[in-house]
Symmetry: D2
């Protein structure tokens, strides 16, 4: 009835860093109907050699072996190919540092004067990309006036050649820094390559990992070594568990300041660019102690859906929103169709705050 | 760049009833790079024979033919196999009666004293199945007290033999009717077989089409002939367009009282039973004039997610909720893990109403 | 790590018929980290009351309870909501009659002179729909000549009104019967409504359940009462397990002659109408004793992909193919773009037979 | 009817490099039902400003504007937000250098003595990871003897710290080189980080881009600058178009030697780790001129499915296979459950060659 192998979660050589630190890892081994006594004994012995506590349950038709220990997924997986084994069922979640069980108190993260988590609601807004100094500074002022609490903007573009982009990137980062100076808003910007972590960390208040990089483990490891918060977007085809495991990767490398960001998953639906999975909000809160924000702009791909989905995200209990705002979406160099104009954004902030305050009274 | 055939939308012989009634159906025919003049002429001539207005655009490398007319998808599809044709791109949405373009004013549906749509928020609650008279009447009282405005409960079970279930079903329907009598709440119950439409319509105030029957066209046609509202659940793998087409099916068969119900779609995510697609709420409101409600119980499969997702659905602008409530979920014969207990439900209703009233002031 | 509830497999009140007949059903109950001794005892006692053998494993951080017995999924699911329970992990597959464990020998099904299974390769071909007598008889002759071993054609159309379609249907069925008479080929045709099972069974050699009806349990039950083979198409969003469960439904209702048919699943890919899941072929053979055929026409939606995917299906070990062939696809009333012309089909049959014979020598 | 925005294909700032070089890019702009004359004129004028040829089609209810030109997707997308525009439908595929239209002749790539493409069938085999010198050399001999034509093995592990892994990696690469020396087989190994392209290119005959890195644009760009073939795995949630676009990225950066590798996509099915999409094989051959190989090991995650799916892939027309083979899968440090033992692999090679030769005679 349970059909996926441990390998699903550790595919392609991925390795849960915290699992090695031990803990209460367990699994159930279901033996084949015709498994011989010898095969059952062999599995039990190997389990004991690996330090597992073993519990045998012989049914009329099948034998089931329970094993509890502190071994890595790779060790557990190795039992799947022993003779007589039908399947393995892992029974403990593979993340640890991120889990609510490990730390009951919700994490809140200070960013300048602002706090992500702890009941506050951060509204991160701005254009998709930093397209030019004046335009961006104007946008920064507009979103601040409308009620944004942080500023977003992409400084890096994959389009540019690796020889030129660092210069360009740096210029983008400097514009971002200038905008922070002028507005007082912390800045959030994307990091896409291991070679630039140091540079971006120098400027940004929060480093964003894009959806496509969620399982770029080299990048996650580098981000584990800096002292800035990381906003980790969910990959478009990542399960919630894989997403938490990516957070675990950063945390186990040394950086505990991880902010989760739901931005839609890929489904068969075609009206929307992605299907925004709002159930991720309460799930992240139940499974982990990390703050979670929602990006309804990428999550839907259509500006007409941004307001209702932003309100829904707040009602679902998120710690913040990330919204694309552009003075003139029809001239935006990227992602115009999902950007709000400042007036719509202002209206949205008002509604968000109303819902947010009603809910606070409620809980 | 556009990659699916018309056939995607009319797969397996499905036929849009309203499309036959004409309208402004159109398509673009992209010719192959090496299409000959003869092939282009042949396609143009056939288009004209079929009554299309034809617009030729010859580019340097490709010829594109625009065609506007009033033909059925089957006719459009037939062009895809003509020599020299690379692909067809349909450009008008295939539904008509359900569309906001056809009827600008939102539909509201009277059910007893209640109204679905028109700014009201219906809360349909009750256990998954009618499991017995006394238990159900008790549940009915409890959900009414907690604030439900309609009562739900399944009278039919596929599990029973076809020789016995009609009797059982009738008994279930009678219990539902008794509960309505006692509480004054309209009743919503599922219809699963063409042979029982008449019987169920006699008792129920709203007939529910389950997710698995969304494309049971024989059933939809039968429901098009009755004078009771139909609550149409979205299929777990149905696109929003296919779902609207199913509504169109009922409507074109004569019954305009269709209520859409989002209940989650099937994705790769495993923590939740389904992924509740709340973007469907604003999309249904933008694309159609029909009311739309949300079922967070089936939509998540976990009672701990019901409250946040119900609140999110309200914030997204839905016209109602359908929530499973059970006095004792651990004894429920089906879907226990997704049922709220009455106390939790009561608390939920309070929160729903707060959000709902804040939003009303806002809009 | 294991993330779905039993309810996933028995959603919406679905009930595994064979599970009631007992067998070696089992589950693991993972208790919450902070579960009290009382909660653990309470769960254990209820398990014993329900007749389960209980095995307790207390780890440093968590307690895990193994339970083996002969109870239905509904009973197992009821434990998920007991206080202190984190989750339930079912560990035995929910199907029985269809399973390879229940019957080791592969099922082969006689249809007229032909045999489905047992190493033979059936090639079921014909147009999507019976569009007229002469045309269909011509098609029948053409596909027979080209090497088809069975004839397919749809007699029912959802488009027609319920008052007229039975007549039309009957005429279609009579044309099918005439084609069988003339060619000697057994006929396969779709059944879509419980009200017509008797009529169709009178004419058809194999009754086909369409993908959208795979979980129409009332229809499955009716098909369980007839003495004709049923070709069960996989639903576009059905897991392999749900598909086998649908077969189980027919089998437990009395009809053991079930032929599985893979026809593509719904994914995010857009070039193809569906993603043909050929891994279903060896999986059905490993998990069940039923024959399995493949429909590359619906499975891809593009005639240019039919040949390579048909050959791949044969190489993967299927027991037959179902291929749409039409004299003039551009005039076909449905599914033209995925139909082969007779010449292409003839070439395909030659290749199929070559691969098939090479593989036979190999195994 | 057409439901996705141009942005779907160029999401998150992705930019089609070849589109800038012009070509016959086109789109259809569907105006809203109530679009004013002014709005229509405004759109037309902006199109002309951007250099598009404009074709107006005024229907009874809607106006449709055809536009043909040589502009980038970003320019096309910018029209979606103009007043009165309902949607944009792009009508030309976004890739160019990779397309069969651009280069009719199939690309074949020399690797040592071997050729990928041009009718040959490459069998790339070996363990998932290089786990040690002796073991790997033994594996290399075993797979060569069994009929492999190339050798695979991963030298990099995300698990190790960035300070130590380069040394380890280098050692792994040296073992690979030694194995090539001894067996004469070209070696294929994965590259995961921009910082290591130079080093890996020094050793490997083919550099493999893993599924998770398919849209790591910085890495693709670096690979565009080397003179070694790149094996590009399809991302688990990448459409075929996105996958081809990733190839386009490498090609437009200067490296034309790209080999596509289908390795399964993520779907709702749970028995298999991924759903191997074999229709990708004929589609890549129809849409592009690049060779395509298949990885049935990762594509299924179960060694029992590797043989049937490998045979199916060959029958579907692939140019090669990539198969995991391990002397002792139960001791493999990663991906044991999907590895064949050498004996099974040997048997597989025999069958592959039989099918391959039958098909050659056929075509």
């Amino acid at each position: 009835m349970v059909k996926y192998a441990i390998g699903d979660f550790f595919a392609d050589g991925f390795f849960s860093p915290s699992a090695t630190e031990g803990g209460n890892v367990g699994m159930i081994i279901v033996m084949e109907k015709n498994a011989s006594e010898d095969q059952i004994r062999h599995v039990s012995e190997r389990l004991q050699e690996e330090g597992f506590q073993v519990h045998l349950s012989k049914g009329v038709k099948k034998t089931i072996i329970g094993a509890i220990g502190e071994r890595t997924p790779a060790v557990m997986e190795s039992f799947e190919v022993l003779p007589g084994v039908e399947k393995i069922v892992p029974i403990i979640q593979p993340f640890k540092l991120a889990s609510r069980e490990f730390q009951e108190k919700s994490t809140s993260i200070k960013v300048g004067e602002a706090v992500v988590g702890n009941g506050s609601l951060q509204i991160i807004a701005g254009p998709c990309a930093v397209e030019g100094r004046e335009k961006f500074l104007e946008a920064a002022h507009l979103v601040k006036e409308a009620g944004a609490t942080m500023l977003r903007g992409g400084a890096f573009k994959p389009r540019t050649s690796p020889y030129s982009f660092q210069g360009l990137a740096k210029q983008g980062l400097e514009i971002l820094a200038e905008a922070r100076e002028l507005t007082g808003l912390p800045i959030v910007t994307e990091i896409m390559d291991t070679r630039m972590v140091e540079l971006v960390a120098e400027y940004a208040d929060i480093l964003q990992v894009g959806a496509r990089n969620m399982q770029n483990f080299f990048l996650l490891k580098e981000l584990g070594k800096i002292d800035k918060p990381v906003l980790l977007k969910r990959g478009p085809s990542a399960t919630i568990e894989e997403w938490i495991m990516a957070a675990e990767y950063i945390m186990s490398s040394g950086n505990k300041k991880v902010i989760m960001c739901e931005r839609g998953i890929r489904t068969f639906e075609k009206y929307t660019r992605n299907t925004l999975d709002l159930s991720a909000v309460p799930l992240i809160k139940q499974l982990t102690h990390l703050p979670v924000i929602v990006d309804p702009s990428h999550g839907t791909g259509k500006w007409k859906l941004v307001e209702p989905m932003a309100l829904a995200a707040v009602a679902a209990g998120c710690d913040g929103l990330m919204v694309e705002v552009h003075q003139n979406p029809s001239e935006a160099l990227s992602d115009g169709p999902q950007s709000l104009i400042p007036d719509n954004f202002k209206r949205l902030v008002l509604k968000i705050n109303k819902i947010s305050s009603v809910l606070k009274n409620d809980y």
